[in-house]
């Protein structure tokens, strides 16, 4: 049960998690990760007014589906759902959701973290930051590349 959705609307993490467990008695572990838009990054500077997420329609869904399938070969997943939003978001808004289910917690945690690490470096999305003093494209982080690379 692998689901990918690229959408501008908000998502409901609880409903997505419920869809992966409803009527089942084999799921022992559900991990959900929600990534949100923050007002302030670590470097300080002017507070963020909004983020606009641009994406590559078609490829975004296909690439995330490939990442989920890769996760499914590495861990015994019972289900996985990834929803990534695009468009303009203000601080506090949801950006991305990953839900993984498995019989055991180790697989659910590892797959969720793997998906997030690879989403960051492979899913074709780009963030434009709007601050009081300027708008600028977010630069990719070396730490994200390192997080993805640890999966080998």
């Amino acid at each position: 049960m692998f689901t990918v959705r690229i959408q501008s609307e908000d998502f409901d993490a609880a409903a997505e998690a419920a869809a992966l467990t409803r009527g089942r008695t084999d799921v022992g572990a559900v991990v959900t990760f929600t990534g949100l838009c923050r007002a302030q990054d670590a470097t300080g500077g002017a507070p963020l007014i909004a983020l606009t997420l641009e994406h590559y329609p078609g490829m975004a869904e296909e690439e995330i589906r490939r990442l989920i399938e890769e996760a499914g070969t590495r861990w015994p997943l019972l289900g996985a759902t990834v929803i990534h939003r695009y468009g303009r978001m203000v601080p506090g808004d949801n950006i991305v959701l990953v839900v993984t289910t498995s019989s055991h917690r180790g697989a659910a945690f590892a797959a969720a973290e793997f998906l997030m690490d690879w989403l960051k470096t492979r899913a074709p999305f780009w963030k434009l930051e709007e601050r009081e003093d300027a708008s600028s494209w977010v630069a990719a982080k070396d730490t994200d590349d390192e997080a993805a690379e640890r999966w080998g």
Partner: protein, 83 residues
């Protein structure tokens, strides 16, 4: 061949997409980037540092030395910052 641009590559090139007749001798992703770089000021700025421009061929990540052979759609974009 359909070419798409995203984020600041799109902004610098000044368009989202275009049809390109790929010239003889342009056989890899890197060749195509070098060819596009010569098409004008916006392109020159978009591809000024080819190492920071990524590419996808038919919606799959590609490397500079990936052959264009058979691809219908190529996209150029900065390193991704989703998630």
């Amino acid at each position: 061949m359909k070419v798409l641009y995203f984020a600041w590559v799109r902004e610098r090139v000044g368009r989202e997409t275009e049809e390109i007749a790929v010239p003889e001798g342009v056989t890899t992703v890197a060749d195509l980037a070098a060819f596009l770089k010569g098409r004008g000021e916006g392109y020159a700025r978009a591809f000024e540092n080819p190492r920071v421009v990524r590419a996808a061929l038919d919606r799959r990540h590609a490397k500079p030395d990936t052959p264009l052979a058979g691809a219908r759609e190529v996209a150029f974009f900065p390193p991704m910052t989703g998630g």
